[in-house]
Amino acid sequence: MTPWTPTLTRSRAQQRTEATQPAASGPADAHHQEVDAEETGRTHTEHGTDNQVAALTLRDLTVRYAPAASPAVEGVSLTVPVGQTLAVVGESGSGKSTTAAVAAGLLPGSAHARTAEQRLMGQDMRGASDKVWKNVRGDLLGYVPQDTGTGLNPVRTIASQLSETLRAAGTARRQAAARIATALADVGLDPELHGSRYPHELSGGQRQRVLIALALAREPRLVIADEPTSALDVSAQKSILDLLEDRVARAGAGLLLITHDLGVARDRADSILVMEKGRVVEEGRAERVFADPQHEYTRRLMSASPVVHAVPHRKTGTVPEGTTPVVRAKGLSKAFGTGPHRVQAVTDVDFELAPGRTLGIVGESGSGKSTTARILLGLETYDQGELEVFGKPLGHNRRQGRELATRARFVHQDPTGSLDPKYTVAASIGEPLRGFRIGTRAERAERVNELLDLVALPRDLAGRRPAELSGGQRQRVSIARALAVDPELIVLDEPVSALDVSVQAQILDLLADLQERLGLSYVFISHDLAVIRQISDDVLVMAEGRVIESGPAGEVFDTPRERLTRTLIEAVPGTRHESGRANVI
């Protein structure tokens, strides 16, 4: 650990607030401009050198989910000074969310937490009762959960559920309504329009804004945000993080930001704490950690994290003249619904995919990328245009789908949902073989073993069920299943988006390796530009159903022609501090 050196730099949030709002000088601003930023991760409240009370102090935290179990979190200490942001970074299972749950008083009753010290704005919270916690919530402590679609009550309107929290704290009905209107306006929502809606009528980004409005409605001094943007695409992510940063700075609060995304941590945090398997492996000021990572795990996380400006690891050759493209689409269009409900999902899309190459389709949610993929597999019809798959026109005839299914396969984003929980690994992988009546029982069993080898899964996993596998292993099973019938084309729809970065890197390596060995062609769909850049030869950037930019991956990313492409690239976390392209993270 770096020695404790008091420095007089101002927090990142303050710098931004001042930069964006030079005229703003509310009481909160005046108050926290005096704040000294220090190396966090140290308990300095007792040193007497600092009379500023920290928003949050945790010392020597250990959590076990069962009395005899090995600890989920062990010996973690952290401090969030008022007006600063501490990011806790780690992969799933690192204990970062458990740490946040302890800090927010949300640990389930069955878990056992032990701390040497736990203070919230100086108040001792060790062993605090539900009543004590209830009293600090809202006023001292705000919590922003990740919106996985269920962060808000589905059967009540936004305004009704938000104002209830204020009314429960003793605010009069009319006053509560007024304050909720302000809170919604503060997060860029229309109180009239969005307040009267139900959660399912809002987008993921809008719901996350509501959650921020809720957490900050009473201007708490500490905000804990647990993966607040992980479910969002890059541009929504950026605006949500900007908003969170701005609102936290205006409230003069401290922010404990839990994230698996190093880029997010780098852009937003004053200090960083890296966790692995329940322990803190590295901590320090953000610039220092990124410039000079000390721990092996931090370096590994950084190298696994794909970054847009990193050199692509694949060499993009040229396609020899006269090769029949695997897929050739021209003027492809598709609309859903009729009359006033008609939605144009895909408009006038052109592209070609040569054998052995990867076409990356990138865009935000709702840009038409998944519909395009479904059309070229014959899973969806199209209204207009021409489409040739393997040199043969794919008409509007659904029956062609079955023949096509032996040559072109699909891999879904969510292997948990696309694998039958009751099937063993072997049964899942062998399913297409049985479906197309390929081989005898013994031959199929042998093929399953080959496929397990191919995707680098140990053969003794064959008898397991999906619930007994990790996320990465499940995705390998999905890929093996797609490979079972020896296809030539695989369409991958967000295949790594649900995975941790280091697992993500392994799956991408596996895909590249398989492509080389088996001569596969890929259509790779992702909202993650860094992943697309890493795997693709050619790229289509889609927005609102149209292709707005296309070309070789390097060209599109290095010299984007369209403003929207540039915006997408700039919204990628980890790019905010980039001065030069040579930067590896």
Binding site: L106, R137, D147, G151, V155, E164, T165, R197, L214, P340
Partner: protein, 317 residues
């Protein structure tokens, strides 16, 4: 057309179809049953009747007609609201049902009045209890309640309240005193079923993220339970409304027999044992009608209770 009106009309159409199917199936099944309808009319004994009397009855009730004619005639009558006359009493079926119905409605109303709040309370307490021991105990209650045989519970209640304590006369009591023991008996399996279903969906909602969201926003446990977990979980109760009603009717057969109440359940029981075809058909049609109406009401209530199931009126972004 207004989508709601169109939906109601479509559902009513289906309802008529269901009633027709129920009538036809019941008619065919009853016809296929062993036993002689003439014997049923004569009180189960053919030996004392002359051939002429038998022929007369055959002709009077139309038994000498081919099956299809019998079916069409009785269907035509049924459409006009005439369900025929009882073989055993000679009373019109509609009158017999009309007499029995209020008795059963009284029983059903009291049972539901006990079962619905009781079931909801047990489920809420089972999720909300802080003490894990109490939580386990309460969670186990519904399964026990569902498993207890209704006739046995009825007899036990009679034994205790009427014979041992002498609080309530075993038969012949009117008003509340007459209905309370049968209602309690019937409400036990109903309440247990309601509690079981609600408990499952409450437990599910309780683990959902919005409960954490609002717990973190400072809401109390009671408020979380009542105003956040209960509304979405309550929707699941709606989906079992039809099943609950089926259990009311099925349970009424047993309870009314045990407590000798002359309701629909008793009517069904006696008409089945006496092979009184028109009455059995009438009871079947009544049950089918009740199901159709309840399910229509449930479908209309869904969009009110759960905004996610509302038909999209205009495209919203």
């Amino acid at each position: 057309m207004n989508p709601v009106v169109a939906m109601i009309l479509r559902r009513l159409g289906f309802g008529v179809l269901v009633l027709w199917a129920a009538y036809t199936l019941a008619f065919l099944l009853l016809y296929a049953l062993p036993g002689d309808s003439v014997a049923a009319v004569l009180g189960g004994d053919l030996s004392t009747a002359t051939q002429q009397e038998i022929d007369e009855i055959r002709h009077q009730y139309g038994f000498d007609q081919p099956l299809i004619v019998q079916y069409l005639t009785s269907l035509g009558d049924a459409v006009r609201g005439n369900l025929g006359t009882s073989y055993t009493t000679g009373q019109p079926v509609t009158a017999a049902i009309g007499q029995a119905l209020p008795v059963t409605i009284e029983l059903a109303a009291w049972s539901l009045l006990i079962a619905v709040p009781g079931g909801i309370l047990v489920a809420l307490a089972a999720v909300g209890a802080r003490n894990p021991w109490l939580r386990n105990l309460l969670s186990g209650l519904p399964s026990v309640g569902v498993s207890l045989p209704t006739f046995w519970v009825g007899l036990l209640l009679l034994q205790f309240f009427s014979f041992r304590l002498g609080l309530i006369p075993a038969i012949g009591a009117r008003g509340f005193a007459g209905v309370i023991l049968p209602a309690l008996t019937l409400s036990l399996p109903l309440g247990a079923m309601i509690a079981q279903v609600l408990l499952r969906s409450l437990t599910h909602e309780w683990t959902r993220q919005f409960v954490t969201t609002y717990r973190a926003a400072g809401l109390s446990r009671v408020r979380l339970l009542l105003s956040h977990a209960l509304p979405p979980a309550g929707v699941s109760l709606l989906s079992i409304a039809g099943v609950v009603l089926g259990n009311v009717l099925g349970g009424a057969v047993i309870v009314e027999t045990v407590f000798t109440r002359n309701g629909i359940g008793r009517l069904a029981e006696t008409s089945v044992t006496g092979q009184d075809m028109p009455v059995v058909l009438g009871v079947v049609m009544l049950s089918a009608l009740v199901f159709v109406v309840v399910n229509l009401v449930v479908d209309l209530l869904y969009p009110i209770l759960d905004p996610r199931t509302r038909p999209v009126q205009e495209s919203r972004s």
